[in-house]
């Protein structure tokens, strides 16, 4: 299975990636011939000007968008070759996502938000709840199990989102400016949480961010320039 190959193969391999959007009768080219490799267990930070295609790249990695051409290999699977259904099931099992805002489903309680990915991967009952509660206490919100997201602060919501991205034990975690909406202090808290939790579980993390301070934590720093991925040396 994928888990076996993940040990040997890189977590992410992009090859000759082409992606553009139509805008009226013009084409806006986002990627032309981008390529890179991220090894399993690495923490990669993705930088780039606003509008340069960072979110687009994460969407491609999660199988939520398709390239015009090229390879998007994630955990040994070339996503463009899969059907929509297959890509969804792949994402369900192997990917966790944290967005900038509006992560949590407003119609579910915090606990239920955490249970959803487990349920989707057929984990139910007491064991599932135990796992969800464990993650919730890992983000120090165990007393908010019954709350609805609207009653949580922005930072608390993001912490729940981090827990939810990890609860079903995915190999790859994608975070799109997860702290963009938060103040400096809270932001640092959430970042460290993400880093700690993915690293301790040996997961691959790709994070889009503006904050330079993250760069210090990352194994690899990628920048989008002219439709290509350029690697900067990590600070460490």
């Amino acid at each position: 299975m994928v888990a076996d190959t993940a040990d040997t193969a890189p977590a992410i391999r992009l090859h000759r990636l082409e992606k553009s959007y139509r805008e009226g009768d013009r084409r806006r080219i986002i990627f032309s011939g981008a390529q890179t490799v991220v090894e399993a267990g690495e923490f990669a930070v993705l930088l780039g000007k606003s509008g340069s295609g960072k979110s687009t790249l994460l969407n491609l990695l999660a199988g939520m968008d398709s390239p015009d051409q090229g390879t998007v290999e994630v955990l040994g699977k070339n996503l463009p070759k899969l059907s929509e259904e297959e890509r969804t099931l792949f994402r369900r099992h192997h990917v966790g996502f944290v967005f900038q805002f509006f992560n949590l489903l407003p119609t579910l309680t915090v606990g239920e938000n955490l249970l959803l990915p487990l349920e989707l991967t057929d984990r139910n009952g007491a064991a599932a709840e135990e796992r969800a509660r464990e993650l919730l206490s890992a983000v120090a919100l165990e007393d908010r199990w019954q709350s609805f997201p609207e009653h949580l602060s922005g930072g608390e919501q993001q912490r729940v989102a981090v827990a939810r991205a990890l609860v079903h034990d995915p190999e790859l975690v994608l975070a799109d400016e997860p702290t963009g909406n938060l103040d400096q202090e809270t932001s640092q808290e959430v970042l460290e949480l993400l880093d700690r939790m993915t690293r301790s579980a040996g997961k691959t993390l790709v994070m889009v961010t503006h904050g330079r301070e993250v760069v210090g934590l990352a194994d690899r720093v990628l920048t989008i320039e002219d439709g290509k991925l350029v690697e900067a040396a990590p600070a460490r």
């Binding site: 939520m64 994402r91 369900r92 509006f102 407003p106 119609t107 989707l120 991967t121």
Partner: protein
């Protein structure tokens, strides 16, 4: 500022064309239905007016009589002794073509000399016609060019008619050239003859149908009227023309009022749609409105903007609706007039007349309704705060908090409506009550929705897991949207249930009634028994012959006449009943035996339920009837069930009738067969005999029953059409609400897809949600529909028609209602759900 405000609002709607379309469509359909019903009613009334105008012309008064008409000498005496004002004798009767008994024409006999001041229809038409020949040539008639063309006739041609069983020939002396449409319609299918010619065609009885008078207004007329009255025989009445035609149009008033009320219900649904759209647009633009306020737009400006948008929707919708309504009216007018023909009187409408006033009123109504509907959303918009722009979640939370209070208010409205239904007498008040009950239950909807979802949450979570509770909570989370959609759907389904149960009960009652009333085996009646205003009666010879047909054991005879009274024509049925028929009548009287012995021996009558209701009569009361021997009191010996006429009828035994009215005609017969006799043989013999008589049809018991039910079904066809239209508007409402709801939850769905929900899971989730909404709507609609049915049966029908119906509720109709609510909701949810399921998750996450 306000220019930019307007621009911002225009762009918003351009970006949400579906929402705008639904609001406009809602108003359009509502206005179309109201206008179509108005126009159809108006056209029928107008057509009736036209034909009475052609008949009564400019007469101020008319002298009319019951069966047998007026003796001719009266006219001479009135002219000599009664008044110096113009007077004109008229003979009028329906005749049929000899070759085609179903094609009827109206023979109108006039006195061309006396006529001049009366009938505008003939003004200037006499030119080129040989007056001497018109007066003297036997069988000379005038017809319009159009009628001639239709019948394939030219000047000099002759036409064979069947009149009172005999074949008669008339000759076209000349053609009336009519240029204006109204008069052409009024004179369609009319044969104009000199009065003596007409009398001769009709059998030379020397009797008149009517005398028209043109009395000047003022005291001198009073003197004349008194003098004329003293000259009249007992059976004749002197009526003002207005009273006469007013009484006839009054007959259909209740029918038309019912249609009007139903059409307003369709508009109510349309207004709901505007409310829904407006409300949604405010919620969706909440942030935008807050920012506008921060930039300095006043609350009042925002309020006006939202109201202005609704006014534009109202106006555009109303304009479209008027066009649609005029189209619809052409279809409906046929249904309306057919019902009027079946139930009340003969009227021919060939086209609708579009009264500009009616159209303008419908447009004004549409605009008003949509502005009124947007009132609350606009007020809400004005409260968008520049400081704390509340999140959508907070808005919804406040909607949830308000639900119990709204429900309390709804309960209050409900009670108020129920109270308004208590006092009898005012139909308008009753309709107000119905409307209030409906609005009250609409206000109850959000709370009922919350409560139901609360109950369903646990079971759904048990059964379907987190997605199950998501579906349930999704309904209460968007309460401001779902509540309105559920209310609209529940109302529409309730109306369907209510009208359905009402029609069901009615039909069941009619079937029962037919079951015991139609006890005979073979029925013979004139083609248009129900509208036999001027049809010639059958003679005694036919009665003789029928009683001798093979297998016949007994025979009922029926003569239907109309007696003129100040309250309009009174329908009198003179019956000679075979012994077996008596047991068939469902009489309400303290003692049946006594009722029948009074019927046979005393000056007694039976009256139908609606008649007793209208005239406030009870058993043993006295009823005065104008007989040819003067006004006479009759004891009401019993009250019988009768769904044949909402005007009500009076039944009198034939022998008593013969004593008081000189009339030997019959309108219908029914035959009882000897036990073991061959029905087919008797039917065949009856048909052979009937072939010799024009306009006489023979039906077996089964055929007549079917025919009666066919008329019944036709009567309610238009109700069914309206019900459908109201349902259609509600469906649009649900569709709009759902589409809007899904749209604003795009981001949420994006997150779901990112978490790993497959498109088909998203689809199922959405459809489950709309299904839940349908479930609540269905649950609400059942009690509401039954209440509506009860109101319609017990209050509206009894109060406007005097009919008592047994409320019958078939479980099938309830199951249908539930299926309808669920089906409509799910159907409305399919499209938005499919759309959302197809949207790519990255697209959905980009959001608005």
């Amino acid at each position: 500022m306000s220019r930019l405000l307007r621009r911002s609002s225009r762009r918003y709607w351009l970006r949400h064309p579906l929402q705008a379309f639904l609001a406009v469509a809602g108003v359009a359909v509502g206005v179309a239905v109201v206008l179509a019903i108005d126009l159809a009613n108006g056209s029928a009334a107008k057509a009736f007016q036209l034909s009475t105008d052609a008949i009564s012309g400019r007469a101020s008064h008319q002298i009319v009589s019951g069966p047998g008409g007026l003796p001719e000498e009266i006219f001479a005496r009135i002219v000599l002794e009664g008044t110096r004002s113009p007077a004109a004798p008229v003979v009028e009767e329906t005749v049929v073509l000899a070759a085609e008994a179903s094609r009827s024409l109206r023979l109108l006999g006039i006195d061309p000399i006396a006529e001049a001041p009366f009938r505008s229809s003939f003004d200037g038409l006499g030119r080129g016609i040989d007056l001497g020949a018109f007066l003297q040539r036997p069988g000379a008639v005038l017809i319009t060019q159009e009628t001639a063309a239709q019948l394939g006739l030219e000047v000099g041609d002759s036409l064979q008619l069947r009149v009172r069983g005999k074949e008669k020939s008339v000759t076209v002396l000349g053609l009336l050239k009519v240029w204006d449409r109204q008069r052409r319609l009024a004179l369609k299918d009319v044969l104009v003859a000199d009065i003596s010619t007409a009398q001769e065609i009709l059998g030379g009885s020397g009797r008149l149908s009517r005398i028209d008078l043109l009395l000047p207004a003022g005291p001198s007329a009073e003197v004349d009227l008194k003098k004329i009255r003293s000259l009249l025989p007992n059976s004749a009445e002197l009526l003002t023309s207005a009273a006469r035609s007013g009484a006839v149009t009054g007959m259909t008033a209740a029918f038309r009022l019912n249609l009007r009320a139903l059409s307003l219900l369709a508009l109510l649904c349309g207004a709901f749609l505007v409310f829904n759209t407006s409300r949604f647009s405010v919620v969706q633009r909440w942030m935008l409105l807050g920012r506008l306020r921060a930039l300095g737009a006043t609350g009042r400006e925002v309020f006006r903007q939202v109201l202005g948008e609704a006014a534009v929707f109202g106006l555009v919708g109303s304009l479209l609706g008027s066009a649609l309504g005029i189209l619809l009216a052409t279809g409906l007018v046929r249904l309306v007039t057919r019902t009027i023909n079946d139930l009340y009187f003969a009227v021919a409408v060939h086209e609708i007349s579009i009264a500009p006033g009616t159209v303008l009123a419908a447009i004004a109504l549409g605009v008003t309704a949509s502005v009124a509907a947007a009132w609350f959303p606009a007020r809400e918009a004005a409260r968008a705060s520049p400081r704390r722009t509340l999140s959508r979640a907070h808005l919804e939370a406040s909607a949830r908090r308000r639900a119990p209070r709204l429900a309390a208010a709804g309960g209050g409205l409900f009670l108020l409506g129920a109270l308004a239904l208590v006092p009898e007498g005012s139909l308008a008040l009753s309709f107000f009550g119905v409307l209030t009950v409906l609005l009250g239950s609409a206000a109850l909807t959000p709370w009922v929705t919350l409560t139901t979802m609360g109950i369903l949450l646990e079971p759904c979570r048990r059964l379907f897991g987190t997605l199950g509770s998501m579906a349930v909570r999704g309904v209460s989370a968007s309460l401001s949207r779902t509540g309105v959609a559920i209310a609209a759907l529940a109302l529409a389904v309730a109306v369907t249930v209510g009208v359905g149960v009402m029609i069901d009960s009615f039909r069941r009652s009619v079937v029962d009634w037919l079951g015991y009333t139609l006890s005979a085996d073979v029925f013979l009646s004139s083609v248009r028994l129900s509208t036999s205003r001027h049809a010639a009666p059958f003679g005694p010879q036919l009665r003789e012959d029928l009683s001798k047909l093979p297998g016949v054991e007994g025979l009922n005879t029926l003569r239907r006449v109309q007696l003129p009274t100040d309250q309009g024509p009174l329908r009198l049925s003179a019956l000679d009943l075979a012994p077996r028929a008596e047991s068939a009548y469902s009489l309400s009287a303290p003692s049946r035996a006594r009722a029948w012995s009074l019927w046979h021996g005393a000056d007694a009558v039976f009256v139908s339920e609606p008649f007793a209701f209208r005239h406030r009569l009870a058993v043993s009361d006295l009823l005065e009837l104008p007989t040819q021997l003067g006004d006479k009191p009759f004891e009401v010996a019993g009250i019988f069930k009768d769904y044949g006429s909402d005007q009500g009828r009076v039944m009198i035994r034939r022998s008593l009738y013969d004593r008081l009215w000189a009339d030997e005609g019959y309108d219908a017969f029914s035959l009882y067969l000897r036990p073991g006799a061959n029905l087919d043989r008797t039917l065949r013999a009856a048909r052979r005999r009937a072939a010799e008589v024009p306009a006489l049809v023979v039906r077996s018991n089964r055929e007549l029953r079917d025919y009666s039910l066919e008329i019944f079904d036709r009567t309610f066809l238009i109700t069914g059409v309206l019900r459908l239209l109201a349902g259609g508007v509600a469906f649009l409402g649900v569709l709009g609400a759902l589409a809007a709801m899904q749209l604003e939850r795009q981001r949420e769905l994006g997150v779901l897809r990112a978490t790993g929900l497959t498109p088909s899971q998203v689809w199922r989730l959405m459809v489950a949600q709309t299904g839940l909404m349908g479930l609540v709507a269905g649950l609400l609609s059942l009690p509401l529909g039954l209440i509506l049915a009860w109101i319609m049966v017990e209050i509206i029908n009894r109060r406007s028609f005097g009919w008592t119906l047994d409320l019958t509720v078939s479980p099938l109709i309830l199951a249908q209602a539930m299926a309808l609510a669920l089906g409509a909701a799910i159907l409305a949810g399919l499209f938005p759900a499919a759309k959302m399921a197809r949207t790519s998750p990255s697209e959905a996450l980009r959001g608005e």
